[in-house]
């Protein structure tokens, strides 16, 4: 009887805590809520050492922490959450640890799809981001299955970076852009390619040639944000000849005949960005790295150029609600300043 009573009490208490948490989130939601939070999950092993336990305990505790934080994020109204689960650099660890992590990943990916899991509860679409070919086949297949099973979920998104580094992502994006443009050029009628080559690309006569052109155009929107477009357009006020001489590093020699240029496919910054693994989500608004280490470790270098970076000292399994709340409050504090700056760039 007491046991049943005890169980009921803890259930009630749990419900009360959840209620309080939701009230807290309602208060925080008066201010802007980040659309996308990224986490570097660092410190599992140190946590295990601290508790005088085996490393495996640390990783399991880390998984529990992840589930809790995901719950908090999605309750708060964050749409995208990205986590750095396994770097390409981590393959350098001991074979035993790598094997264990692959096993754990397989177990947890399969668990994601089970009923009652947070994925179903919040309607989360899952993406596995990285060079999945580097994973063992069972893990890769499980990841693909999970992505397919959650493809129609629309309420929120979870991006799990495995076998990932920014370097690999950028190299892959550049390669894919080159290949994709080459195919486009090959599919063009020969006459169009020749005309385009003669009027705008005198150097690019072979059918397999690629040309980077108009970095200026793509730079306007992508490099520095769409706000910078006005800045760049304003600064190049005169003729196309002026534009040609002023473009970064003298990339564009001729703008004359640009109509024909535009019809001949060429690589632009937008193409590179389109082929990034992370193109499925907007850039993060906050990056949180646990365990107090203040470095990026080859994670989302491209996407975090203007993102606030927080590095609480808590190890990953210790990271909790208050760290998240603190990060969001800091985000809200700097949001106004950043929005004012963005607004100013747009007005200019």
């Amino acid at each position: 009887m007491e046991k049943i009573g005890g169980g009921r009490t803890s259930e009630l208490f749990g419900g009360f805590v959840t209620f309080l948490r939701k009230c807290l989130f309602k208060v925080i939601s008066v201010g802007p809520i980040p659309n996308h939070i990224a986490f570097i999950m660092d410190g599992n092993r140190r946590y295990a050492k601290k508790k005088n336990s085996a490393t495996v305990t640390g990783h399991r505790a880390g998984y529990s922490s992840l589930m809790s934080l995901l719950t908090y994020c999605y309750e708060l109204g964050v749409t995208y959450v990205t986590v750095y689960a396994f770097s390409i650099d981590n393959f350098r660890r001991s074979p035993d640890e790598v094997k264990y992590l692959m096993d754990l990943m397989l177990e947890k990916i399969e668990g994601l799809l089970k009923q009652g899991n947070i994925i179903n509860q919040y309607g989360i679409k899952v993406h596995f981001i990285g060079n999945l070919k580097l994973l063992s086949e069972p893990v890769r297949l499980a990841a693909e299955k999970a992505m397919k099973a959650t493809a129609n979920n629309k309420k929120a998104v979870l991006l799990v970076c495995v076998a990932y580094t920014s370097y690999d992502e950028i190299v892959h994006a550049v390669q894919d852009s080159c290949k994709s443009k080459r195919k486009e050029i090959q599919m063009l009628p020969g006459s169009l390619v020749r005309r385009g080559a003669s009027e705008g690309f005198r150097e690019h006569e072979k059918i397999n040639d690629l040309a980077i052109h108009d970095i200026q155009e793509s730079c306007k929107d992508r490099l520095h944000g769409s706000e910078a477009r006005h800045l760049l357009e304003g600064s190049f006020e005169n003729s196309s000849a002026d534009v040609a001489t002023k473009t970064p590093n003298g990339l564009i020699e001729e703008v004359e005949g640009c109509e024909m240029q535009r019809k001949v496919p060429s690589i632009e910054l937008a193409d590179v960005e389109e082929h990034m693994y992370m193109a499925v989500a907007p850039d993060p608004d906050i990056l949180i790295r646990s365990s107090g280490e203040t470095r990026l470790s080859n994670f989302l270098l491209w996407q975090t150029t203007t993102c606030p970076l927080y590095s609480p000292a808590a190890l990953w399994p210790e990271l909790g609600l208050w760290h998240l709340v603190w990060a969001v409050l800091n985000f809200q504090r700097s949001y106004r300043y950043l929005e004012t700056k963005r607004k100013k760039m747009r007005e200019d």
């Binding site: 370097y167 390669q175 080859n298």
Partner: protein
């Protein structure tokens, strides 16, 4: 738990990841894969290192001819700092000049002038403590939106500082390099920079890299543009595009140590603001609350002490 058959043992995965041997034994391989707390690069590797395409890279064969400036006796480092753990390359985002001036009821120009004094002091410290490369974020591409008056002031400030410090650089063996989109700078400043770079090209005691009209994304994009041109010309195949190739084309190919070990940002802002995107992959970040004109020796020592206490694992295990 399901038993897992790994068709690809981790060593093979690592081998496949690294299957294309790096085209260049670059700074990342030298400092990152070997996880050495001393951050020293194997000297044997350096002599066989193929050189980057930029003319400015210094080769070991030229070292005897180089001017490493006056060489004072090895200076005692402040307490708490260990010589073997000093970073080779420090990068700084010099933020807070405007706020510093506003706090004192001064115009922004006064803040920038005070910032220049801070920079001179930092260059001096790096020179004395034998830090090899100091990269400073003087003017971001995003800063062009600032009021025209302020931008013109900054451009003329850069000119004055380069002119006044060039002799000192010559005496002390400091090499100056400027990275960024020069095309937007006034012609006179461009000419001055070209001249300063040429005059100090062979100096080797300390390299001061000044990022002006620079953005990390722009740097990666122009590297990709160079690579695409090489693909077009048949010099490189698409499948040969790798990390080493991109690194070689970045603007930081003007130095032997393109990747900062430590990045310091002043004024308490916790972001990178489009500075050195690719190069910061494994850099230790230190966010100092002080405004840039207030960042002096004590604050720099604090940053260095923090750096020396960190464990750099590069994804592996100690």
């Amino acid at each position: 738990m399901l038993s897992l058959r790994l068709p690809i043992p981790s060593e093979s995965v690592l081998a496949s990841v690294m299957q294309r041997p790096p085209r260049f034994l670059n700074a990342r391989n030298q400092t990152h894969l070997f996880c050495s707390p001393t951050l020293s690069e194997p000297k044997a590797l350096q002599s066989s290192t193929p050189q980057a395409t930029a003319a400015d890279v210094v080769t070991r064969e030229e070292e005897e001819e180089l001017n490493d400036g006056t060489t004072p006796p090895e200076e005692e480092l402040p307490e708490g700092l260990r010589r073997e753990l000093m970073p080779k390359h420090v990068a700084v985002i010099m933020d807070g000049n405007g706020r510093w001036a506003r706090q004192r009821g001064l115009p922004p120009g006064a803040g920038h002038r005070a910032g220049v004094e801070s920079l001179k002091a930092l260059v001096e410290l790096c020179w004395r403590w034998e830090i090899r490369v100091l990269t400073v974020f003087a003017f971001s591409y995003d800063n062009w939106i600032r009021p025209k008056v302020e931008v013109e002031f900054l451009m003329s400030l850069f000119e004055n500082v380069i002119q006044s410090e060039l002799d000192k650089f010559a005496r002390e063996g400091i090499r100056i390099s400027v990275i960024g989109d020069w095309s937007r700078l006034p012609e006179s400043l461009q000419a001055l920079i070209r001249d300063a770079e040429e005059k100090t090209r062979k100096h080797s005691r300390l390299q001061l890299i000044v990022a002006v009209s620079y953005s990390g994304k722009y740097d990666v994009v122009q590297a990709c543009k160079s690579i695409a041109n090489k693909v077009k010309d048949g010099i490189v195949q698409v499948d040969d595009i790798d990390e080493g190739l991109i690194e070689q084309e970045l603007e930081t190919n003007c130095t032997e140590f393109p990747y900062p070990d430590l990045l310091i940002r002043t004024s308490g802002e916790l972001r990178v603001s489009n500075f050195l995107l690719w190069q910061l992959a494994y850099t230790e970040l230190f966010f100092a609350p002080d405004l840039w004109p207030d960042f002096g020796k004590d604050e720099f020592v604090e940053a260095l002490v923090s750096f020396q206490e960190r464990q750099r694992r590069y994804g592996g295990r100690k």
